[in-house]
Amino acid sequence: MPSQAQLLPGTLDLLILRAVSLGPLHGYGVLLRIGQISGNALLIEQGALYPGLFRLVRQGLLKTTWGTSENNRRAKYYELTAAGRKRLREETESWNRLATAIGAALAAQPEEA
């Protein structure tokens, strides 16, 4: 098993949005998708996922429908709303800015050794 990183606070929402943006998913599917797209580098507690999903639904970023899974189980599917799509774009940008800035800061070399 590859070494897994702890999630930074606040990044779970972003990951869920990203995962769902690739197509409707049920909760377990979200978990698998995040694992898949992060190369299994990010650890998400299964129980922590659901409050996040409910929170995003309440904020109107996700919408839900009941459907049937590939192995014939009833499951609730999540999908991005227009607001969710917009939020994902914004969050992605701001994350990229932050990551670049922090990366640059960490990469800076002392001017005089």
Binding site: Y28, G47, R58, S69
Partner: protein, 883 residues
């Protein structure tokens, strides 16, 4: 909007909670199944896979709880938490809670009462079918009186009403076989009940088909109330024959209990056809177009006709009548008015009065809110440490505000409920109240759902209003600052707007207190002043002999027999009879001229005295002191020379002398020359606050009247005397209609306006006092809280109690003193206004001044008691350690 949306979402979530719960279970279970499927595929047994899936998932219940929270479902749980905390906080400071609740109860109660009156009198005038199309006809002057022929023409010639009914109010003697008594009568047109849509409760009601010309319909319809009180709900009364003014009438029906006539204040006892007017009034007026005696005509405007079209239609009938009967009908111009308050005649003043009350009540509530806001600010200041701590520990400002608002709402609900219950009790008494016993006057103001709603809304609104006051404080709380250094006690020297407001409140309160003390003094004094007669130990008997069938010469003969019979009763000292009695609001006036005047026109009159026709014995029976001369005897009849007794004022004004007045003469148009044979003391004749008026007494045998009051003076118990008088008079004629009442009861009607003024002033004074107390209390409490640390240090440094108290409460006391003085000065200036209502009102009276000072000091003491206690109990050690 966002807030509302989220609120709606949360409320919906609450109701959805069980469904949401199932939904959540389904979803989480499906997750476990899917995970187990995957694990099974990797080679585990089904049972092992499911076990592993559950372990991986973690604490199922906790996840669910977190999901609920995330979905917004726990809002109401946190509200419950808030409520519990608020309840605990309020219990911890019972003084604060009690003051706040009482203040609000006063404010809400006052508003509920006034709104109930507004609702009953203006918003829902008459409880009748299709009341929104029901209109009464009035003329441009605001009077609804019509002559009967004009009413008939209006009824038959208009094209806009679904029928037009008319009624008139009068009194008649009703004899049901025992103890005839006057009853209040609506004389009604035959179509009255059909036009209004009233179905009988029992028997049948009157219909237009019952009318066949004058005195053709000897039928009585009883109101439910009268049937209940006078016939004990006996269903066999239908078909019974009774005597009305000595004419046989048949009872044909009873109206439903909710129907109380078409004049809100005035509920009749019985309904009688208006075509029988002659038998009730003693004069035939049905054919006289010039005599406007029919009280009001009313009906439903047809659904497709507007009020303007109906008015125009009526006016076209009016101009036809003008042209056809130029002698009787002058300019006829009609308007439509809401029935129930007699159109704009009563409706206008009532509306203005109630609107004024509403404004006043609103102001009281606003003042209450301002004061409660002050109290809450003081409380919030006290709790600034707690608030700061909670903020520092990560509570959101919104959550803390919600807590404060929950407290305010809780107080407003409790206060509102208390106020509402108090107002309901008051309104029920008001509805039953019959201010003037002789008239069936009631103010039907029972509260309904609308009143409850308004009270509740007002309570919540004021809760928000005063709850919001400390919001700024909370938002500006800097947790680091407060926790580090404690609440900083900077007290501004500047006079704030709140202080000015408070001072005004105190001033108004002082005016009200002054006014109530003046009014009470005046009332007490007027009860003990000389009326020119003595209402104690006397019983009044009102008789209308024409109701019992007496006419002409039979009237004075019967009156003499009655007086003789009553004077023979044991214990009776004197008996007299008068056309009217003083202070009974029905005293007529006459016009007198000096002896030498030949041109007897009103402009040359010497005086306009009150005029009474009285029997021998009248002055003894009323206990009016004779100054000089003699009083009447039974020899002063229509064959004897014309004589009169006058009061001192009359003698002074018309005769020119009190001492030598006896024997002098004056002139009256209908009587001629009259010689004065006696002069009596001055008295009060129409009301207690009148200036001294001249009065003239003529012998009953020279100016006969059939309607009269007998005064029976006796030391016997009024109850027994009443019974004895009644049976004695019924021995003479069992058909006499009698109204018997102790004189000091009857006088209540006269004292009524003064009593009302005193009571209202008293209530206003108490309200003002309550508001001032909460105002001062709030401010004192606030200033103590703000400076508590400074005061503690002072105590530690050895300051004495007196100095500490002065530092803590000096400003509040100063405000109170300035406000009171201003109020007292205003009260003194308002004397003139007061004295028009209250007899001998003067605030320049040491008792009043002392009373006001005492009341205001007491008020100050009460208001500063709790803050002062807190200051005196200051323990600097505790305080400094805490800080």
């Amino acid at each position: 909007m966002k807030f509302l949306d989220s609120l709606a979402f949360r409320i919906a979530a609450l109701f959805r909670r069980s469904r949401l719960n199932d939904d959540m279970d389904d979803e989480l279970r499906s997750h476990l199944d899917l995970r187990a499927d995957d694990l099974e595929r990797s080679g585990l047994s089904r049972a092992e896979a499911e076990r592993r899936a559950r372990i991986e998932f973690g604490a199922y219940q906790r996840v669910k709880e977190e999901c609920h929270q995330a979905a917004g479902g726990t809002f109401f749980e946190s509200v419950r938490q808030d409520l519990r905390l608020a309840y605990r906080m309020l219990r911890k400071s019972p003084g604060f809670t009690a003051v706040a609740v009482v203040t609000l109860a006063l404010g809400i109660g006052a508003n509920a009462v006034v709104f109930a009156v507004l609702n009953a009198l203006i918003l829902r005038p008459l409880d009748l079918p299709q009341a929104q199309r029901l209109y009464a006809i009035e003329d441009r002057g605001g009077s609804g009186y019509q002559s009967y022929p004009d009413y008939e023409d209006l009824r038959d010639r208009n094209r806009s009403f679904d029928g037009l009914a008319a009624y008139n109010i009068t009194q008649a003697g009703l004899d049901t076989g025992k103890d005839p008594a006057p009853a209040w009568v609506y004389e009604i047109s035959g179509n009255y009940f059909d036009v209004l849509g009233i179905q009988p409760y029992l028997g049948r009601v009157l219909h237009a088909s019952d009318e066949h010309g004058e005195n053709s319909a000897p039928y009585i319809v009883l109101t439910h109330g009268y049937w209940h009180s006078h016939f004990q709900d006996d269903p066999n009364v239908i078909g019974r024959t009774v005597q009305l003014n000595k004419h046989p009438y048949t009872i044909i029906g009873v109206t439903p209990p909710e129907f109380r006539g078409t004049l809100l204040f005035f509920t009749p006892d019985i309904f009688v056809p208006i075509v029988n007017h002659e038998q009730l009034a003693g004069a035939s007026e049905l054919e006289q177009r010039g005599r406007r005696w029919v009280f009001e005509a009313l009906g439903h405007v047809k659904p497709d006709v507007t009020a303007e079209q109906a008015t125009a239609d009526l006016n076209s009938v009016g101009s036809y009548l003008e042209k056809t009967y130029p002698k009787d009908d002058g300019k006829l111009s009609f308007a439509l008015a809401r029935p129930g308050l007699y159109g704009n005649f009563l409706g206008g003043p009532v509306k203005a009065f109630v609107a004024g009350l509403m404004v006043l009540a609103g102001l009281i509530l606003l003042a209450a809110c301002a004061n409660l806001g002050g109290l809450f600010a003081a409380r919030a200041a006290d709790r600034s440490r707690e608030v700061a701590l909670r903020l520092a520990l990560g509570s959101s400002r919104g959550r803390i505000l919600r807590q404060l608002l929950t407290e305010a709402t809780l107080i407003s609900l409790v206060g509102g409920t208390v106020g509402l219950f108090a107002s309901i009790a008051l309104l029920q008494r008001l509805s039953l109240w019959n201010p003037i016993p002789r008239f069936p006057i009631h103010v039907p103001v029972s509260p309904d759902a609308k009143v409850y709603m308004v009270a509740l809304l007002l309570a919540l609104l004021s809760g928000l209003l005063f709850g919001i006051v400390p919001v700024r404080q909370v938002f500006h709380t800097n947790p680091y600052q407060v926790v580090k250094s404690g609440a900083t006690g900077v007290v501004g020297r500047r006079i704030s707007a709140r202080e000015v407001l408070l001072m005004m409140q105190i001033a108004i309160c002082a005016v009200l207190v002054t006014a109530s003390i003046v009014a009470v003094r005046g009332l007490v004094r007027s009860l003990h002043s000389s009326f020119g007669f003595d209402p104690q130990n006397a019983v009044l008997v009102e008789t209308e002999l024409s109701m019992a069938g007496y006419r002409g010469d039979a009237v004075p003969a019967m009156q003499k027999r009655m007086l003789d019979a009553l004077s023979a009763l044991p214990g009776v000292q004197s008996v007299g009879l008068g056309s009217s009695i003083p202070l009974n609001m029905d005293a007529g006036t006459g016009t007198v001229y000096s002896e030498k005047e030949t041109d007897l026109r009103p402009m040359n009159a010497a005086a306009q005295p009150y005029r009474f026709a009285v029997s021998p014995g009248y002055f003894e029976a009323t206990a009016t002191t004779l100054l000089t001369g003699r009083t009447f005897s039974w020899h002063d009849d229509d064959k004897a020379p014309r004589v009169a007794v006058v009061n001192r004022e009359f003698a002074r004004k018309v005769l020119g002398s009190v001492e030598d007045g006896v024997g002098r003469r004056f002139k009256m148009k209908d009587v001629g020359l009259v010689e004065v044979i006696g002069i009596v003391e001055d008295g009060k004749y129409l009301n207690l606050t009148e200036d001294q008026k001249p009065a003239l007494f003529l012998p009953i045998l020279q100016s006969p009247v059939s309607q009269s009051w007998m005064i029976v003076r006796s030391t016997a118990d009024p109850q027994e005397l009443t019974t004895a008088v009644r049976s004695r008079l019924h021995d003479l004629d069992s058909g006499l209609t009698l109204y018997i009442e102790p004189w000091n009861h009857e006088i209540q009607g006269v004292l009524f306006p003064m009593r009302m003024a005193t009571v209202s002033l008293g209530v206003l004074g108490i309200m003002g006092a309550m508001l001032s107390i909460t105002g001062i209390f709030g401010m004192a409490a606030y200033s103590v809280s703000k400076r508590i640390k400074e005061l503690g240090i002072r105590v530690a440094l050895g300051a004495r109690h007196r100095e500490i108290l002065r530092a803590a409460l000096g400003r509040s006391v100063k405000l109170l003193a300035f406000g009171s003085i201003a109020g007292m000065i205003l009260g003194l200036l308002a004397t003139r206004v007061l004295s028009s209502i209250v007899y001998q009102a003067t605030p320049r009276d040491p008792v009043v001044l002392a009373g006001v000072v005492l009341a205001m000091s007491l008020l100050g003491l009460l208001a500063t008691w709790m803050p002062a206690q807190r200051v005196l109990r200051l323990d600097p050690l505790m305080l400094l350690r805490e800080e």
